[in-house]
């Protein structure tokens, strides 16, 4: 019989106040891209965060100065590659504002349909990945993720039938849109919209009847109304903090005033409030798509003739700031034209950049596991953060 060896464990004189620096990223599954956070920990609690971004920086703003007004829109979709439609939208709107270019009513409606379907697709990806990040608490984690990805595929199929591409489209053009609806598309779209609408109810029940989900999101990552505005949060984040700011309502563009929809506002300011806002937005976007399909006017889809050369669009001297309500908030394009075929300067206001800037203000004081929940609730897309 052997005797048990005496314990060699050494008790450290640990008081809990020693600080540990922990590196999270740049390759971390919850980053949904490349993001590095240098966390300073006291035990399990985060006391400091240095957010490092720029891993995906391509200098879109310099690139835009070298591309013509016809060339850049399809590149703009690479800023926010999860909601590519809305990025193109902001750029072409800025060019149209400077050039005072009319957009036919049918094109405006098609733009709305594409943008709203894109919002649903983007929110589906957000919901799935966020629940995956929070892991085991949600029935094995991957359940919601796989459901959401399945639904998103239906929307990508619609885009594929419309544009020919699934992720990066080039659908928006200065003066209108590039393609009209193919035959039968409207019916498929209606079916898809009804289908997703039913599914969203199911997911909401799955999550909100799950106490683990509530514990991990309620009261976590609270952003006050004041802080949200000062940092420049937009989209579901600012509306989750009690600010009624939706550009589709406050500054309507592309015929959004024709549609009847609600703008959800929650006052909690926590991860759960942001989740609730997005869950309502799903349904409102689907409502807008239904209305737009119903009222879709006949007519041309572009006010400009087909292009013979990429330098054909001439925008007069001037400047404009165009903003659209993307899935993540205010996507803005500040464009300065000097009368040539290319812009003089383009500033891209990425919603994710400003949204991510909230992290250093809210993360200290939370546990390490909450960092993942908070970051997921911010829904950053690093193509748009780094541009």
């Amino acid at each position: 019989m052997s005797t048990v060896a005496p314990s060699t464990r050494v008790e450290l004189d640990y008081t809990g106040s020693e600080r540990l620096t922990m590196n999270m990223g740049p390759q971390h599954p919850s980053a949904h891209g490349v993001f590095r956070a240098i966390l300073t920990l006291e035990g399990e609690e985060v006391v400091g965060i240095d957010a490092m971004i720029g891993y995906l920086h391509r200098c879109h703003e310099k690139l835009a100065e070298t591309l013509t007004y016809a060339q850049y829109p399809s590149i703009a979709s690479k800023t926010d590659y999860v909601a590519a439609m809305t990025s193109e939208f902001a750029y072409v709107r800025a060019a149209e504002m400077i050039g005072k270019i009319e957009v036919p009513k049918r094109a405006q409606y098609l733009r709305v349909i594409a943008a709203e379907l894109q919002r649903v697709a983007s929110h589906l990806l957000w919901l799935g990945t966020w629940c995956l990040d929070m892991g085991g608490a949600l029935g094995g984690g991957a359940t919601v993720f796989l459901y959401c990805i399945r639904e998103r595929e239906f929307i990508l199929d619609l885009f594929e039938a419309l544009v020919g591409a699934r992720l990066l489209y080039g659908f928006y053009q200065v003066g209108g849109v590039r393609y009209d609806l193919p035959p039968g598309w409207t019916d498929t779209c209606r079916e898809t919209v009804d289908f997703i609408d039913r599914r969203i109810d199911e997911y909401q029940r799955m999550l909100e009847e799950n106490p683990f989900f509530l514990v991990r999101t309620q009261g976590v990552g609270v952003v006050s109304r004041e802080l949200a505005q000062e940092v420049g949060l937009s989209g579901p984040l600012v509306r989750g903090s009690g600010v009624n700011y939706d550009l589709r309502r406050t500054d309507p563009y592309s015929s959004y005033e024709d549609f009847d929809f609600r703008v959800p506002v929650e006052t909690g300011g926590d991860c759960f409030a942001r989740y609730r806002v997005r869950m309502v937005e799903f349904r409102e976007s689907l409502t807008i798509v239904r209305q737009a399909l119903e009222k879709l006017p006949e007519g041309p889809i572009s006010s400009r003739p087909g292009l013979k050369s990429v330098a054909q669009i001439r925008i007069p001297k001037g400047e404009a700031y165009a903003r659209v309500e993307g899935a993540r908030g205010e996507v803005g394009c500040y464009l300065i034209a000097d009368g040539g075929p290319k812009p003089y300067r383009m500033k891209w206001r990425g919603a994710s950049f400003s949204n991510l800037a909230i992290l250093p203000h809210i993360i200290p004081g939370h546990k390490v596991a909450d960092v993942v929940a908070i970051m997921g609730s911010v829904d950053p897309v690093f193509g748009e953060v780094d541009r």
Binding site: E65, Q229, E230, G232, E330, R349, D386
Partner: protein
């Protein structure tokens, strides 16, 4: 607050400021009024939403700093501008007024080399610390060579 009221208030408090347009209203102020004007816009005009801050390189005319702020409750939208003057690349920082100016000014420093005086942590944000030059300056050629794998 209507746009007309805002314009009157601006003219009273900042006679040196020029205003133009409605949506957004473009307000051009001298560089020494940059921070006082932002504070006035936040506190008196209620522009608490900080949208973005950037710059434009007007070549020999020098750099221009641009900031966009909003009063989201009353739909007042301001685009602030200030000219730094030829050869000048220093500007007072708005971080004391808007927390969102922190990352925006770091990006602006990264891209244009503008030193924001009073910024608590002015370092590059998108490019690496060892990057040479500031890419959005017009003097920086698009094809400037740089070592691979940066």
């Amino acid at each position: 607050m209507t746009i007309a009221q805002a314009r009157t208030l601006i003219a009273e408090r900042f006679p040196g400021a020029q205003t133009a347009g409605d949506a957004p209203m473009v307000v051009t102020v001298p560089v020494d009024a940059w921070v006082p004007f932002a504070r006035f816009a936040k506190e008196t005009l209620g522009c608490r939403f900080f949208s973005f801050l950037s710059a434009v390189d007007w070549k020999e005319e020098g750099l221009e700093v641009v900031a966009k702020i909003d009063n989201v409750d009353e739909k007042l939208s301001l685009l602030l501008k200030t000219r730094l003057g030829p050869g000048v690349s220093a500007c007072p920082s708005l971080t004391g007024v808007y927390k969102g100016a922190d990352w925006m000014e770091r990006e602006c420093y990264d891209m244009f080399g503008i030193r924001f005086e009073g910024h608590p942590d002015l370092r590059r944000i998108l490019l690496g610390d060892d990057w040479e030059g500031h890419p959005l300056l017009k003097s920086y050629a698009v094809d400037t060579p740089h070592p691979p794998f940066r």
